[in-house]
Every structure is written in C-alpha cells, then in structure tokens.
Symmetry: C2
Subunit: 203 residues, 2 copies
DNA sequence: GTCTATACTTAGATAGAC
DNA sequence: GTCTATCTAAGTATAGAC
C-alpha cells in the first residue's frame, strides 16, 4: 500500500489500462512498454504482477467471467414469467443488466479485445463463444421455444434468429472502435427490428 | 516465363498463397518467410515482386475491387425491374453473382483478411466499408425505398435493416475461419429470416 | 515493489552474387 | 529472377541493484 497514486492498486491499474488499450488497437499492437508507460511504472514492473503479457489477457477474461456470472438472468425464473407475462416483457428481462457504468465499460472493452483477437487464438475464441454465442443461445433459445409452445408467439426459425442476433451483437462489439462505431440508439433500433420478427399470437 | 512450376506466374502465386494464409491466420501472424516457403521461393524473392509485405495486402485489395466491379448488379436496371416484377425476385437479383468458383474463393479470402484486420488499419477499414457496408447500402437502400414508394412492400425501418444485414454479412466473413464456421445453408437460412422482415402488400 | 540494463527472438527488408 | 548472407528494429522477458 506504500506507493499507490490514484484509486487502484498497481495490478488493477495494469488490467484497466490493458483492457482499454487492447480494445482500441488490438492485443498484438499494444506493447508491454506502452501499458507500463500509461500506468506510470517501468516496463519491467509488469512482470512482477503478471508472468507474461498473455497472462494479462487471460486475467481479463477470467475477470469478465466472474463479473458476468453476477448479472446473468435466471433462466428458470424467465421460463416461469413466460407463463404469465406478455412475451415482449419476458424477452426484455432476458438481457443482461449492469448497474455500475464504469464496470460495464471495462467489460465491454474486454469483449471487444476478444472480438479483435479471436482468429487463431483458441483462448479468445473460447471466450467469445462462451460469452456471446452460448450466453445468448442458452437463455434465448429455451425461452423462445417455450413461448412458441405456449402459443404466445407465432412459430418461426428460432435457430436462425439466434444466429442473426448473435452475429449482430458480435459485430457491434467488434466494430465498436472502428469507423463503423455506432451509438446506442442505432444499436437499439437494430435490436428492435430483429425483435419485430417475433410476433405475438392474436389470442 | 522461364522457371514457372504450376499454373501461375510467381507474382500471382504469391498473391494467392498470401490471400489464403492471411484469411486463415490474420495478416500480422503470417510472415513473408512462410509465404515464400509455401510458394516455393526464397523469402528475399518476394521483394522482387512487392516492395513490402503491406503492398501484397494492398494489391489484394485492388484486385478484389477490380473483380467486384465486374459482377456488381446495375442499380438502374433493378429499379426498372421493381416497377414490374415481384419484390422478392428483384431482391434476389440485387445480390452479387460469381461464375468462377476458384475466383470466388480467393475474393472471399481477401474479404476475410480485411475483416480480421480492420482495427487500427485505415486501409482495411476503408476496404471493408466500401466492399461490404457501402455496397449493400448503395444497392439495397434505394431499391427498398422504391419498393415501399411503389407500395409493393410494407413500410419498415430500412436503415436498421441495412445495418443488421451488413453486420450479418460482415460477421459471416469475419467468423468464417473460426470455430463459428458456418456452412452455406445455415448462412442462407439467416438471410431468409432477415428477408422475411420485408412483407409484400396484399394488393 | 520498482528500477536500470540487457539478453533473446522474430520478422521485415536490403546488398550483391549468380 | 532467384539465391545467400546480413542488417535493423521492435518487442517480450530476465537479472539483479535499490
């Protein structure tokens, strides 16, 4: 606790700075020297906290997983609500909600980092699959199938829907720091269009 | 013409091998030495044909643009067809069609390469914007707006549709060589679902 | 816990012979 | 047009002082 400038202990500072820089320019193009410079320490000091650069990335992925678990909606609860509530209301509740804006920003950066890196890096590929593709499918798929079963919504190609939805979320993450940067209202409009595919039955 | 083994002159061989390797592992992770090895020449020989590694990539982008121009559908023709033909038939004709399978494969690889690289590389970003995002928007947007104007299809959020469609195409390219690899029927099912958002009017 | 100094490796690129 | 040999720069990582 001796020499901490700013809010965070050095290890956490390194992780925060790395997440930001990785998401902006990609893991490969960020050097350990640069991270150290922004943190305000010597580049060698990074290796006191992390055995390797790769390990900074892995730590970020672990951190993301731990935080995400805290805000993941409960599928069984959603399936219960499907019986009584309006379809759209249940679907709204199937999304992930973060309270802390600062935390959300960092988690988004980690997601972007993985999206920029997935090719050829099994670790990043696994991370992305678990945190975008599987997460969406594991919640949305049973929920939509149940809503169809209950005849609350009309039957449609659920698997293609999940795929298109996942790809949309993935792109939004991957393109977030590029020329194609989108603000949230535009993103929401695309989501709304996709959800308009789901049509309630008339009863 | 002296020492050519195989079908292609050395310069074209280099481009073909580079396109394949770049699309599989990303531009940065492929070395000029590896390209040379696969082509069957010494790594220094690459620099007889290209002033730099970066220039191989630029040449691939130029090549893609030239080839794409040849198969780009004519917007005015499509707008004329919109007056008389069924909406779906016109929309089907708005897609790009390649005859040569070999060529299509190479062009896809170039697109994937750009999708893997866009972050932080203005050249790749511009290429992607021109060849996925703008191409889709420039054809599909006026066509859809015209079909709505003609009351052949119901009005809907065309811009969000273009965005979701573009993102879907982009993801399909970017994820093509990963664990998320999809075969064409799955991709087409997603496209069909998206096009189902467009509903013809009843008259 | 942070520093200075430096080792090690990889990859893009060049010079010049053949 | 292709080769051998080599230069140079950059980036990860380590040793050891303070």
């Amino acid at each position: 606790m001796a020499k901490q400038k700013g809010k965070f202990p050095t290890k956490e500072k390194i992780m925060r700075v790395a997440a930001k820089m990785f998401s902006e320019r990609g893991y490969d193009k960020v050097t350990t020297r640069e991270i150290a410079k922004v943190v305000g320490i010597n580049s060698a000091s990074i290796y006191y906290y992390f055995p390797s650069k790769e390990d900074i990335l892995k730590s970020l992925y672990r951190f993301y997983n731990e935080e995400l678990r805290k805000v993941c909606p409960d599928l069984n609860e959603l399936l219960r609500l499907a019986e009584t509530d309006l379809p759209y209301e249940v679907l709204m509740k199937s999304e992930f909600h973060y309270n802390d804006k600062d935390m959300r920003e960092m988690l988004d950066q980690i997601l972007v980092t993985a999206a920029l890196r997935f090719c050829g890096d099994p670790e990043s590929e696994r991370f992305l699959r678990e945190n975008i593709f599987d997460n969406i499918a594991n919640i949305l798929r049973p929920l939509l199938l149940r809503l169809i079963e209950l005849k609350k919504i009309k039957s449609f190609d659920v698997d293609s829907f999940i795929k298109v939805m996942s790809y949309y979320c993935y792109s939004a993450a991957a393109l977030n720091n590029s020329d194609f940067k989108q603000d949230i209202p535009e993103y929401q409009a695309g989501m709304a269009l996709l959800f308009s595919i789901i049509t309630p039955t008339d009863n």
